[in-house]
Amino acid sequence: MSILTVSNLTKQFGGLVAVNSVDITVEKGSITAVIGPNGAGKTTFFNLITGVYQPDNGNVQLGSTSLIGKKPHDIARQGIARTFQNIRLFSNVTVLENVMTGLHKQLKAGLVGTLFQTKTVREEEKRAQEEAYHWLEYVGLAKHLNEDAKNLSYGAQRRLEIARALATKPKLLLLDEPAAGMNPRETRELTEFIHRMREDLDVTIVLIEHDMKLVMEISEQIFVLDHGVKIAEGKPAEIRNNVKVIEAYLGKSAVTPA
């Protein structure tokens, strides 16, 4: 069963076609990778799914609901969460509160309830703290709960972003270059961790990544973008030997013997 269906998706920036008639189907419960050289349109693709940009053409469907025309917060409420290539944490806010913000859409507290601190609101707040703490434990950041997010190490910031995204209880989790800036050990841990997330949580994962070892190890399906166009799709073994893909990454001369 497919959870995400993208058809004919197109986005132009002036004369540049950043995403060009892309069709992609993601199976529920799978781990899918989107790869491609720099500037291929991968991040733009994520931004189109999450409503940061509106597409010029095409359709995006989560399950059976179309996401076209929806605002980012609506799409988040539909069950899509993401991390960002250039980490976007709430820097001057504590680590725990960053994750609590992820719980936003599940909390019911209103203006009046907050003002009078009703029992329900107090209990809900307490539960939110506990749940947020639980997600910190899950990504291994529990002992940093009271630190400001900006004071975390780079790798820890990426994990915090994942924890915050998980707190929204997503059906679909989009990770934009989660291993960027991580050392080999951290990358290995991340690979394991992505597997575990899929096992533990009922979540489908799509990730953009440049680290080919990680991509090949982890993904069941790979899509390759180049200059906004989908040039290949398939299992890791198929992609590894795909002529077009090698061409896109290494140039024509790599495949045509001189």
């Binding site: 999450t50 917060h73 936003h104 703290q129 009271n146 400001d148 841990e189 961790f193």
Partner: protein, 429 residues
């Protein structure tokens, strides 16, 4: 000195004794002195000392209550300066509430608003129009002026009307961001003032530049509030509510969404936060505090005209927030107190002193250089100095500290509910 503070740290008894001693000494000097501004300022300073003691929060509130409700009004009541002290304290209270309102908009939600005084004006005119004969000009029914007893309801009405205007202003204005937002809000602030200035024709609603005179004083069970020492308690009551509200909002779902929007709009939206609604709520709540105090201001002055709501007022409130510490409730309270007292007391006192000197022929002192006329210069200087040397303000904002042990207990529940695998096997930090 350093040794002394170290010894004091952790010793609550010593802190209490010192605080009580300090309050006693300043009270006594205020009680005995004839209108000594210094004694009054030192008295107020005790609240700051209280803030820095390590007493439990509840006790601090009780002590602050005793000082504000009992000690200050009582010990200053003997001298000839009584009403002027109470006037200063009342005005400080009004500005503190406004600065706390602006702090929500600027400090928590990160929206630079340069026209904030508009909401104060809206509150003031709301009461001013109905508590004078003015409303009879355009209201088809009703008996105007309304009695002073309506004042209490008007605090609520002022609150809601200002909040409503906060939303109405927000809807068009929040399409722009950053510097543009600042400029648009600045324009809005001026527009409101100019509208009030010109709304005397075709229908005379605000009485234009003439303003509204003899606004009815508040009244309850036949008891009238006319003097500053009476308004002092009204302001104190509202202020208590405002501080309580701000603190509760700040550490709630609402406060977190404000901060999220301030820190990163795109990430905030990806958490399901409705950007426009969150910003509008900040505008509305911030405005509502100003609206309430506007009503009090109109009643206290018994006179409302557009000149009280100039751009300089908006800037003054902003300076309070920046000086005190953006996003910091105690900081903003201190900032508002410092700036108001500087404006009302210090600058005028220094001016008087210099004038006296030049009258005596000790120095020759040109009128144009009077400190009371140099507000803009002084605020500008404060802003620059703080931007360079202490951008986080006098009392920087503090994030809450959560108790890890109790959360650890609680989080086990969630583990059972959602996740089957032991969490410790994940990332190892």
């Amino acid at each position: 000195m350093h040794k002394l503070t170290n010894k004091l740290k952790g010793n609550k008894l010593a802190q209490i004794i010192l605080l009580v001693l300090y309050v006693l000494v300043t009270s006594l000097s205020l009680y005995l002195a004839q209108a000594s501004v210094t004694a009054f300022l030192l008295m107020l300073f005790s609240l700051l000392i209280l803030y820095y003691t390590e007493l439990p929060d509840r006790l601090k509130w009780v002590i602050a209550g005793v000082v504000l409700i009992g000690v200050i009004p009582f010990v200053s009541s003997t001298g000839p300066g009584y009403q002027s002290y109470m006037e200063v304290a009342t005005v400080v209270g009004i500005y503190v509430a406004m600065a706390l309102g602006l702090n929500i908009v600027v400090g928590l939600a990160g929206l630079l608003d340069l026209g904030f005084v508009a909401f104060f004006a809206i509150g003031a005119y709301t009461y001013g129009i109905f508590a004078t004969g003015q409303a009879a000009n355009f209201m088809p029914f009703g008996n105007f002026p309304l009695s002073g007893e309506s004042f209490w309801i008007f605090i609520l009405i002022g609150c809601f009307v200002a909040a409503l205007f906060g939303v109405l202003l927000g809807i068009p204005v929040l399409r722009v961001k950053g510097d543009y937002l600042a400029i648009v809000t600045l324009g809005f602030g001026e527009i409101i003032r100019i509208v009030f200035n010109n709304l005397d024709k075709p229908v005379n609603i605000t009485n234009g530049a003439m303003g509204l005179a003899s606004v009815k004083p508040p009244e309850i069970f036949g008891y009238q509030f006319v003097y500053p020492n009476q308004f002092y308690f009204i302001v104190l009551g509202i202020l208590l509510f405002v501080i309580l509200a701000v603190r509760r909002f700040e550490y709630s779902k609402i406060g977190r969404s404000w901060k999220a929007v301030r820190e990163n709009e795109i990430a905030a939206q990806s958490m399901g936060i409705h950007l426009v609604r969150t910003k509008l709520l900040a505008f509305a709540i911030g405005a509502s505090f100003s609206g309430m105090m506007g009503v009090v201001f109109a009643a206290k002055q018994t006179f409302v005209d557009p000149t009280s709501f100039t751009l300089l007022e908006s800037i003054t409130i902003l300076v309070m927030v920046i000086l005190g510490g953006m996003g910091s409730v105690p900081g903003v309270i201190l900032g508002a107190a410092v700036i108001t007292i500087l404006n009302l007391q210090v600058l005028t006192e220094v001016t008087n002193y210099l004038n006296q000197l030049s009258l005596d022929g000790v120095i020759s002192f040109p009128e144009a250089l009077a400190p009371a006329k140099m507000q803009r210069f002084i605020f500008g200087a404060i802003l620059i100095i703080f931007a360079i040397y202490r951008p986080q303000g006098l009392i920087p904002a503090k994030n809450p500290v959560f108790d890890e042990e109790s959360l650890k207990e609680g989080s086990k529940k969630h583990r059972k509910e959602q996740i089957t695998v032991e969490p410790d096997k994940g990332f190892q930090a």
